[in-house]
Amino acid sequence: MTAPAEAPIRVDDPESTESRDPGLPWNVVVWNDPVNLMDYVVWVFRRLFGHSEQEATRLMLAVHHEGRAVVASGPRERCELDVYRLHHHGLWATLEQG
């Protein structure tokens, strides 16, 4: 079997990330990691998002038990800023739409 003359090429469309459904909110996801202390993660959620200790603990436990949890939602720019602040605090965070 030979390679097709027109091999699939990934076309990088500079607008691709802008062409998603703008109606869908963006989510900030924090992933579980084995090194950050639970109490530290709770403190970060309180410090960055102004959560109560109970809410911050609930989110931390969701990350711990489920491997990941959505910790904030909203416009893309705000979520990117949240991801930046979480990275600055050593948390493993990503953003995704939907």
Binding site: D12, P14, S16, T17, W31, N32, D33, P34, V35, N36, L37, D39, Y40, V42, W43, R46, R47, E53, E80, V83, Y84, H87, H88, H89, G90, W92, A93, T94, L95, E96
Partner: protein, 154 residues
């Protein structure tokens, strides 16, 4: 003897000479992250913001990595200027910089030992690996400092 506590308006610090000299090494350790190729610590401290979109992630990194570098450099400077042996007090904002420096050092050291995800048994390795013993000791300090800062938060 607790190394950190909230006294009502600032964070008190109590470190002996050995503890202070170990901590004083952390800014240099962190300033070296990413200087060598394939440094696992760089991957952990600068994770992808977009898991499945390389282009969006590249754009995010173009905009934010310099900002993250500057913020971490400021944290290291605050830490280096304030860490010393003895009993003294530091501002809450400085203590937050300490927390990030100690936390980043733990992440960097652990990442270089291959501890990135899904290895909750890593603490067993502490007994035979001096770098991981340092990670554990820094974890103890971080836990006490988090308690003090949580007290400051009320």
């Amino acid at each position: 003897m607790t190394p950190f506590a909230w006294n009502g308006h600032s964070i008190t610090v109590r470190l002996d000479e050995h503890e202070a000299s170990l901590l004083a090494r952390l800014p240099l350790l962190l300033a070296g992250v990413g200087l060598e190729a394939d440094d696992a610590a760089a991957g952990r401290l600068y994770p992808a913001a977009y898991e499945e979109d390389e282009e969006a992630d590249g754009e995010y990194r173009r905009l934010m990595t310099g900002e993250l570098d500057r913020a971490r450099s400021e944290d290291r400077d605050v830490f280096a200027e304030t860490v010393r042996r003895g009993r003294y007090a530091i501002a809450v904002s400085d203590a937050e910089a300490w927390l990030r420096v100690i936390g980043d050092a733990r992440l960097a050291l652990a990442a270089r030992r291959g501890i990135l995800e899904g290895s909750d048994e890593w603490e067993q390795l502490i007994r035979i690996d001096p770098d991981l013993a340092l990670v554990a000791w820094l974890g103890h300090l971080q836990a006490v400092l988090v308690d003090a800062l949580a007290d400051a938060m009320g």
